[in-house]
Assembly symmetry: C2
Homo-oligomer: 330 residues x 2
C-alpha cells in the first residue's frame, strides 16, 4: 500500500466487483496502522451493514474434521449454482504464536481458482477485538462487492467459534462419526450454537459409523429445550471428498434461510449482532481514547512502572488509577 | 453470605489457614455484586502478590486427555511430600452455555478428601475478564492461606490456556500417545507455551505407543528456537491411574523451578504477569467508569437504540460516540 488510498475511489471500484479493490480494502481494514485505520473507518462507513439478501455461514469443528475440504466442496456447489462466495477465516492467534503446527491447512483447490469465489486467508496476529472487527468489516466489504454468501471458517477452538457465531446467520458444526464417544470433547456451548450438525467424511470405512453417529447427535440435540425460533437442528452427513450428501445438505441450508427469513428471526439475529458489534467497538474506542489521554497517560505509565519494579501491588495500583480517572472527569 | 463480611477479619482468619474463611473469600472475589466487589477489592489489597516461594502450575490438554485424574495423582504425590496444594479450574464459559456436555468431569477423589488440599470448582458464568480476575485473586488468597502449590486446570481449549499461561510459573501440556498423527490438532501456540509435555495414560495397551510419541513430540519441540531462559522442554510420560512415571515427573517439575529460580526467570515471569494483570484491570476499570458516566451513558444508550432499530449503521454510531467522549474530556 505505497500508493495513497482514496477511500471513496476504493469503495466505488469495490462496488463494481473489482477483486483487486476488494483485496486492497480488506488489507486496509486488517491494518493496525493508525493512518490506515482512519481510512478504513471512512471506507466502512460507506458500506451498508444491512444486506438482507446475503447469507453469512460459520463453518466450525475441531481440527482434523475437514473444514477446508468441506468448504471447497460446499462453496463450489454454491458457485456452480450461480452464487458468488467469499471465504474468510477467523483465527484469534494465541498469546505466544499463531497458526497450526502442521502449517496452513487452507487447501481449497477448487475455490482458490474459481472466478465466482474470493478466498481470503486469516489475518496474522492482532488481538481478539481486532480480529473480530476486521472480520466483521470484511464481511461488509465482500457483500458490497457482490458476494452473496460468506463462509467463515473458524480456526482453532473456543473463542473463534463464539466470535464467528456473533457475526453469522447460520452456524454449521462439522463432526466426525467415530466409534463410541462421539460427544466426548464437544462443549455443550458449541452444540447449543449449532444451527446444523454435519457429519463429515461420510466415505470409505467411516460410512458404517454415520448412522449410529447421526442417532447420537440427534439424541444429544434433543436434550436442549426447543428453540424459540422454531428451527429443529438437523443432523446431516456428507462426504466432502466424494460429494455424497452435499446436494441434500445445501437444500437443508436453503430451508434454514427460508425458515428464518419467514419468521423474521434472521433480521432479529442481525440486529442483535449489530448491538454486540456496537458495544464491542464502543469499548475499544473508549479504551483507545482514555489510554492516550495526555493527562492520564503519564499517570497510568508511572503506576505501571511501580508494578513492574514490585513497589506497588496490582490491586493498589488500580485503585490509584481509578482515582485519577475520576478526577479527570470532574 | 448473609452475615455481614469484615474483609480485615476474613483476611486474618484466612492467614491462619482457615479453610472456611478461604472458601468464603474465594466466593467473595467470584461475586459480581458491586457490594461484594468492593469488599473483595479491600481483601485482595491486603494480600501480597509476591510469594516468591510458591509454585503456580497450569495443567492443560484437550478434553479426554485425563487432566482431572492426573491432577488427583500428581497433587496427592505433592501433599504426601508435605506440600499444601490448591486446585483451581479456569473455564471461560461460552457465549450461550457453559460446561461439558458430559457434565462435571472434575473427579479428584483423593484430593477432594485430602486435608492438605483445597479443591475449588470453576466459577460458573461470568465474562472472560471476570474469570481471569477472580482466578488471579484466588491464587493470591490460597497462597496467603498457606498453600504452597497451586494447580490450575484449564477447561475447554483456546482462551483458557492463554489465560492460565498468563498467571502461572509453569505450563504442563498433557497429551495422549495415539498412533500416527499425535500432533494433529495441537496448536503451535499451545506447544510454544508448554514448559513440559506429559504423555498421559502410559498404561495398558497405550504403553507401546509412548516411545514413538515421545520421539514425535521431542522432534516437534526442536522445531522451535532455543528458549532465552535456557530451559529445554522435556517430554515426560506417566500413568495417572497406575502411578507409573509420576515420581520422575515430579522431579522434572522440581528441576524446572530450580532452574528458573536460579536464573531469575521466575521473578521476571511474575513481573511480566503483574504488568499484564495491571493492564487488564486498568482497561476494565476505565470501561466501568466511562460507561456509567452520568453524562455519557444516556448518549451511548441513545446511539445503541438507533443501531437497534436500524436507523444508524454501527461505524457511524461509533463515530458519534467518540465525539461525545472527546467533548466530555475537554
Amino acid at each position: 500500500m505505497s500508493r495513497p488510498i482514496d477511500p471513496t475511489d476504493l469503495f466505488d471500484r469495490l462496488c463494481t466487483g473489482d477483486r483487486v479493490a476488494l483485496a486492497r480494502a480488506v488489507t486496509l481494514v486488517e491494518s493496525t496502522l493508525p493512518a490506515h485505520r482512519a481510512m478504513a473507518d471512512e471506507l466502512v462507513a460507506m458500506c451498508s451493514s444491512i444486506h438482507p439478501e446475503t447469507r453469512r455461514i460459520a463453518i466450525s469443528g475441531v481440527p482434523g474434521v475437514g473444514k477446508s475440504t468441506f468448504i471447497d466442496a460446499f462453496g463450489s456447489l454454491l458457485t456452480a449454482a450461480g452464487e458468488r462466495v467469499a471465504v474468510l477465516a477467523i483465527d484469534p492467534s494465541s498469546e505466544v504464536g499463531g497458526g497450526s503446527i502442521l502449517g496452513d491447512k487452507t487447501r481449497m483447490e477448487r475455490l482458490a481458482t474459481d472466478p465466482m469465489a474470493f478466498v481470503r486467508p486469516s489475518p496474522s496476529g492482532g488481538n481478539l477485538g481486532g480480529v473480530a472487527r476486521s472480520t466483521r468489516e470484511t464481511i461488509l466489504l465482500c457483500e458490497e462487492a457482490g458476494f452473496t454468501t460468506t463462509l467463515i471458517e473458524t480456526v482453532g477452538v473456543g473463542q473463534s467459534e463464539t466470535m464467528a457465531h456473533g457475526m453469522t446467520d447460520m452456524f454449521l458444526l462439522l463432526v466426525l462419526a467415530s466409534a463410541g464417544d462421539e460427544l466426548q470433547g464437544i462443549k455443550r456451548g458449541i452444540m447449543e450454537m449449532a444451527d446444523m450438525v454435519v457429519i463429515n467424511k461420510d466415505d470409505g470405512s467411516h460410512s458404517a459409523l454415520t448412522g449410529p453417529a447421526r442417532g447420537s447427535y440427534t439424541n444429544a440435540l434433543h436434550l436442549f429445550p426447543a428453540r424459540p425460533d422454531g428451527w429443529e437442528v438437523p443432523v446431516a452427513a456428507c462426504s466432502s471428498v466424494e460429494g455424497r450428501g452435499m446436494t441434500e445438505l445445501a437444500a437443508q441450508v436453503e430451508r434454514y434461510f427460508t425458515h428464518m427469513r419467514a419468521n423474521g428471526e434472521l433480521v432479529a439475529r442481525r440486529q442483535a449482532q449489530a448491538i454486540q458489534w456496537f458495544d464491542a467497538q464502543l469499548n475499544e474506542g473508549i479504551l483507545q481514547t482514555i489510554l492516550i489521554d495526555p493527562s492520564l497517560n503519564p499517570i497510568f505509565a508511572a503506576l505501571r512502572d511501580t508494578v513492574r519494579n514490585g513497589s506497588t501491588d496490582v490491586p493498589l495500583a488500580i485503585q490509584k488509577a481509578m482515582v485519577a480517572l475520576r478526577q479527570r472527569l470532574d
